[in-house]
């Protein structure tokens, strides 16, 4: 067993449980999340998610854990989700071959990236985004364990972006409905 594979499987089980916790089940919500996590791990859902989405980022795992712990609403609100999507709209095409520069490769020897996180952390603290600053600190601590080869894999992943897209789309739909009602 290798650490990153075990992490990926377990994290996807917890993420599946967190998705189940989003269902409006009232008092049964926590039990449903527990059953969903166990089902994902035992019935082969987590390996399928692992194959489809790759290893989840620590950011996504922390958001899932907050959801499972009933700490809501999620820190991934409209503005962070939109910011994440805008960043990803540049990052992923470049990392997958658009142009000559590969930003993903920076994550293997991430000294410049780590240095760039300092002003980001200062901005988060200044804006009183203490939860996001803590999430970022846990991300970096996770990278320091050596489980992840690339710093980007700790910070973001396609499933996190899908979640951000849902958050942004939901907000856009709600605004549209509100405008029509007026």
């Amino acid at each position: 067993m290798n650490a990153v594979a075990a992490y990926g499987l377990l994290a996807h089980g917890l993420i599946f449980g967190a998705i189940a916790a989003l269902l409006p089940l009232g008092e049964l919500r926590q039990r449903a999340a527990l059953i969903a996590t166990a089902t994902a791990l035992l019935a082969g859902i987590a390996p399928v998610m692992h194959a489809t989405f790759g290893t989840p980022s620590l950011t996504l795992l922390q958001l899932a854990l907050l959801q499972l712990a009933n700490k809501s609403p999620s820190p991934l609100t409209y503005r962070p989700a939109l910011g994440l999507l805008l960043f990803a709209a540049l990052f992923y095409p470049m990392a997958l071959g658009w142009g000559g520069f590969d930003p993903y490769a920076l994550g293997y020897q991430p000294w410049p990236l780590l240095a760039a996180l300092l002003p980001l952390a200062a901005a988060l603290w200044w804006c009183r985004q203490d939860v996001w600053l803590t999430l970022l600190a846990v991300d970096l601590a996770g990278y320091a364990t050596g489980v992840f080869a690339n710093l980007w894999d700790v910070l973001l992943d396609p499933l996190l972006l899908l979640l951000a897209l849902i958050v942004v789309s939901r907000q856009a739909v709600l605004r549209l409905i509100a405008a029509r009602i007026r």
Binding site: G8, H50, P75, Y108, W111, A141, D157
Partner: protein
């Protein structure tokens, strides 16, 4: 949005961040400038002209994509794909060694079940192996797909320390940000001066281009460099020319008629600027490249009209010019296909060539440098 409990002082998150950032800085690799292990000094090959060939043991209807290496005890080892059909779920990687009594009974060393068991991810099929002996370690890199086609290929790595009898569970190499997909390897790695390896590979999702993966002596990925080319390119085959320079020849996946594409690094693999394509045809087919004992370069590939012949070219000037050397095999019947060459220089100076023979088997040819110059075997 949720807030931290009021009992947590406001200075704690930044303090945690600074601590974690310091730990991350400590963990981040800071390797030396990359350099290749210089190739041995060129020396004339004194072996007389010789050529022989044999088929590898047949294990399935469909066999393809061989990789060759030489074990520390001098035995040749081969790994290849075999199954009922290309991309089928029963395709696995088979392994055999050639001793004095010929090729050993092939062993299955990786398949969808063993890969899923090691990576904890669903696997539909496995693809091209790369076998490489490094001291007592025998490396195996190979691809696997979960959902989707070849563009979703993930690279896996396994190691044997008993000459291929048993293998540790595979691990996935984290080489791509989008679900780690679309990384393929087919050609052998190069040893680096720091004890690590450089693995040629290619990416084939959205853009199709060669890549160079730098691995530390303990297998950690240290860098990934793109081999940019205006033409879509696949499967770089790389030889070191000295400690800083290396030549990569690539399969042309662009519009026909294709030519062998080229990239040259002169800084140990940090950059691979594109160079003019070689005047050597490439019908979007795999190639193999080898530095011979004499220092000349040997290229194996197919002619312009397709895979009905397997040809060899020689270069005596580090890849600047190439001369046709030999036709290894050719046929004009409809079923003829001689492709997927793999080259290896044996420690005795003989050249080993393995290639897919009519998609029905793998042929292994052994020849000397004198045979390449037209000498009769």
């Amino acid at each position: 949005m949720i807030q931290l409990p009021k009992t947590i002082p406001r200075w704690l998150p930044p303090l945690l961040f600074i601590g974690a950032l310091s730990a991350a800085f400590w963990r981040a690799p800071a390797p030396l400038a990359p350099a290749f292990e210089p190739p041995p000094t060129a020396a004339p090959s004194l072996l007389p002209a010789s050529f022989s060939s044999e088929m590898l043991p047949k294990v399935a209807e469909w066999m393809q994509a061989t990789s060759l290496t030489q074990l520390p005890d001098g035995r040749l080892a081969a790994a290849w794909l075999a199954g009922s059909a290309e991309g089928a779920e029963d395709v696995g990687i088979w392994y055999s060694r050639r001793g004095k009594e010929g090729w050993s009974k092939p062993l299955p060393i990786a398949n969808r079940e063993s890969t899923a068991g090691g990576t904890f991810a669903h696997v539909r099929s496995v693809s091209d192996p790369v076998l490489y002996a490094e001291g007592s370690w025998l490396h195996l890199w190979y691809g696997s797909t979960g959902f989707g086609g070849a563009a979703t290929n993930v690279l896996n790595h396994s190691v044997s320390t008993d000459a291929g009898q048993s293998w540790i569970k595979p691990t996935r190499l984290q080489t791509s940000p989008l679900a780690n997909i679309s990384t393929h390897a087919r050609t052998p790695p190069l040893p680096l001066a720091d004890g690590g390896l450089g693995l040629p590979m290619h990416h084939a999702f959205i853009a199709t281009h060669g890549e160079w993966l730098r691995l530390s002596p303990n297998g950690q990925i240290l860098d990934k460099v793109r081999l940019p080319n205006p033409t879509p390119t696949l499967q770089p085959a790389v030889v070191a020319l000295d400690a800083q320079r290396a030549l990569a020849l690539l399969r042309d996946a662009g519009p026909t008629p294709g030519k062998v594409q080229i990239a040259i690094t002169d800084d140990g693999g940090l950059h691979w600027p594109v160079a003019a394509a070689l005047p050597v045809p490439n019908p979007n087919a795999p190639i193999a490249l080898l530095r011979l004992k004499s220092g000349r370069l040997l290229l194996a590939g197919n002619p312009q009209n397709g895979r009905e012949a397997l040809l060899l070219w020689l270069s005596a000037d580090e890849g600047k010019t190439w001369q046709a050397s030999r036709t290894v095999e050719a046929a004009t019947d409809g079923g003829a296909e001689f492709a997927y060459p793999a080259l290896l220089l044996g420690r005795d100076g003989r050249v080993h060539l393995a290639y897919t023979w009519r998609r029905q088997g793998i042929k292994h040819a052994v020849f000397s440098e004198a045979w390449l110059e037209g000498g009769q075997a």
